[in-house]
């Protein structure tokens, strides 16, 4: 039903990706794909390799082996810059903010707005930051404070704003709501639906089963560096997902949830 529309080229194809740290195989032969307007949930126990896989796609980490295709073409992503040029934006689990700089400086870091003389256009950056931050959190007022003095949720909002402000096509969200309160979490859920409607593909790393079932079209579960299951969300129950996460396999005698009902 909402299984990936065959015939359409995927936005992203990860093929046989591996990442080794010495003897540790953080990512072990993982293949995955993402279609326009699709939200794919990436699940797995702590240390399963989710962040490593996402960082490889966002250019923050080089894979030891494997291929990445974007919109059907081989992509060589050697730096965060390369990824951004392909329309890949990332909200990192670690948020990755420069603590001594204020919100607008962080939002535009690496992509500063400049006047025609090449000077920093701080005024315009402040205005733009105010706009985009207010859509995410109307209570966001202390824009000129260094971000070290902001709350965890406010910092997260800056990281989110940074990913959506620019022309994003592929969005990687590594636990984007970990520090957010309920209303902000709801706001992010709305945002995900809105971006999805615009045809943006989203990888959503999350431990929150409720969010995953609410927002995702598909899930992929990682266990000890391997992709142990990719399923349309209708096919699996929460128990199935838990079994994949913990055991690395579906329960015995598993029947797809949607077909089970039909039986």
């Amino acid at each position: 039903m909402s299984s990936p529309p065959s015939g359409q080229t995927p936005l992203v194809e990860l093929v046989d990706i591996e990442k080794h740290f010495g003897g540790v195989r953080a990512v072990n032969g993982v293949s995955a794909d993402l279609y326009p307007g699709e939200v794919v949930g990436v699940l797995g126990h702590n240390g399963a390799g989710k962040s490593c896989l996402m960082r490889i796609l966002s250019g923050a980490m080089m894979p030891s082996h494997g291929q990445i295709r974007v919109r059907g073409e081989d992509a060589h992503i050697a730096s965060p810059h390369d990824a951004r040029d392909l329309g890949i934006e990332t909200i990192y689990q670690t948020l990755a903010l420069a603590d001594h700089l204020d919100a607008p400086s962080n939002l535009f870091l690496g992509r500063e707005l400049r006047t025609k003389f090449g000077n920093l256009d701080d005024k315009r950056m402040l205005e733009e930051a105010r706009k985009v931050l207010h859509t995410l959190n109307p209570n966001f007022t202390n824009l000129t404070d260094p971000v070290s003095s902001l709350s965890g949720g406010q910092r997260q909002v800056i990281a989110i704003a940074r990913a959506i402000y620019f022309d994003v096509k592929i969005l990687i969200m590594d636990e984007p709501t970990a520090a957010l309160g309920p209303s902000e979490t709801a706001m992010v859920a709305d945002l995900i639906r809105k971006l999805k409607a615009q045809g943006i593909g989203i990888f959503l790393v999350s431990h929150d089963m409720h969010d995953v079932f609410e927002l995702c079209d598909r899930i992929m579960v990682m266990n000890k560096g391997r992709n142990v299951g990719s399923h349309p969300i209708e096919e699996v129950s929460k128990d199935d997902v838990l079994s994949l996460i913990i055991k690395g396999g579906l329960p015995d005698n598993w029947v797809p949830r949607n077909r089970e009902v039909a039986q």
Binding site: A60, P80, A96, A98, D99, H100, L101, G110, N119, N142
Partner: protein, 340 residues
């Protein structure tokens, strides 16, 4: 509700502002207290001539301090500036001695400094050697080259033109006295002081208004975050070290021009004065914090301290002890600031 929020915010902002202003103010007060104390100790301290001496001393510390500030904001340190100063000065002196006109010789001197800084930057970013060790190496290399080139002997009689930058002044007014001797009506503004003001303004502009400056802060604040945001962290650091080297070269030329002699032994331990100037001025050795106006205040404090102690007849040994304590105190204050 909304009103109370904004008022809290503006109050917080005032507090924030006053934290930075407080530091500047206390540095300024320290400077004033030093001046008053030294003036009471020795009336000649406040004379025009001594003022010019302080200005000249400070301009060398200040030039080094500006470069040091850029490097410290990236989270690094440059221990090689004293030696690079000597190398650039001696290279310039040798070129002038061999018949090259003064201006191109001085430009080459600055480029030699920049090349040393570039080398530092490459060792730090590409070979991943810590800034402390890399620039400590350069400290020995540059000093060694300067001594080797000259056989450790100073090069003197470099001609009047070589001395202009260090000894000349803008708007100097001299009139012929009745007794036939020239009388200085207005001592003018020494060229080194003008140079310092220009470099300080340029440095402030770079840090506040240019993208490179923003990236320097971001790199020192959180290198990984800067990298993930697409900042060319390596290039940013290399540029900071190259600028520090170039300014050390410039300081060397000013100093040697002042002496009208190229001295391969000049500038030993000047790096500590430069670090002290930056840290006293509010730069943090943890990176991400610092500014040029603070460093200028710091440079004046160190310059006045050294000059005042000289005037008071305090021995060079005791001076070292005092400056040593000042550096430790400044870094300690920096850490207290960071702890909260």
């Amino acid at each position: 509700m909304d009103l109370s929020l904004t008022s809290i915010r503006s109050k917080g902002k005032q507090l924030n502002m006053s934290a930075e202003m407080f530091h500047k103010l206390s540095a300024f007060l320290t400077l004033m207290i030093l001046i008053i104390v030294f003036a009471f100790g020795n009336a000649a301290f406040l004379s025009v001539n001594n003022g010019l001496t302080v200005l000249l001393q400070t301009s060398v510390i200040g030039l080094l301090g500006i470069g040091m500030t850029l490097v410290i904001i990236t989270g690094g340190i440059d221990l090689s500036v004293g030696s690079v100063l000597a190398l650039s000065g001696t290279v310039t002196g040798m070129l002038v001695k061999s018949g090259m006109p003064v201006v191109p010789a001085m430009l080459i001197g600055v480029l030699v400094g920049a090349a040393c800084g570039l080398f530092n930057g490459f060792v730090i970013t590409k070979m991943k050697i810590t800034p402390f060790v890399a620039t400590l190496g350069m400290m020995l290399i540059a000093r060694g080259v300067a001594l080797q080139l000259t056989g450790a002997a100073p090069i003197s009689r470099l001609g009047e033109a070589f001395g202009v930058l260090g000894n000349g002044a803008l708007f100097r007014v001299v009139e012929q006295g009745a007794n036939g001797f020239p009388r200085v009506v207005f001592p003018g503004i020494p060229y080194p002081a003008i140079l310092l003001v220009i470099v300080a303004l340029a440095g402030g502009y770079l840090l506040r208004r240019r993208r490179l400056g923003r990236h320097i802060y971001a790199t020192g604040s959180n290198e990984e975050a800067a990298r993930l945001a697409g900042v060319e962290v390596d290039r940013t650091k290399i540029t900071a070290y190259a600028l520090s080297g170039a300014l050390a070269g410039l300081a060397g030329i000013v100093l040697m021009s002042r002496l009208v002699t190229a001295q391969p032994n000049e500038g030993v331990m000047y790096e500590l004065d430069a670090i002290a100037a930056a840290v006293v001025g509010g730069a943090s050795l943890m990176g991400g914090v610092g500014n040029i106006s603070g460093t200028m205040l710091g440079a004046f404090i160190i310059g006045v301290l050294r000059n005042g102690l000289n005037m008071a007849g305090v021995s060079a040994f005791i001076q070292q002890i005092i400056i040593g304590f000042v550096v430790i105190l400044a870094v300690y204050i920096d850490q207290l600031r960071n702890r909260k």
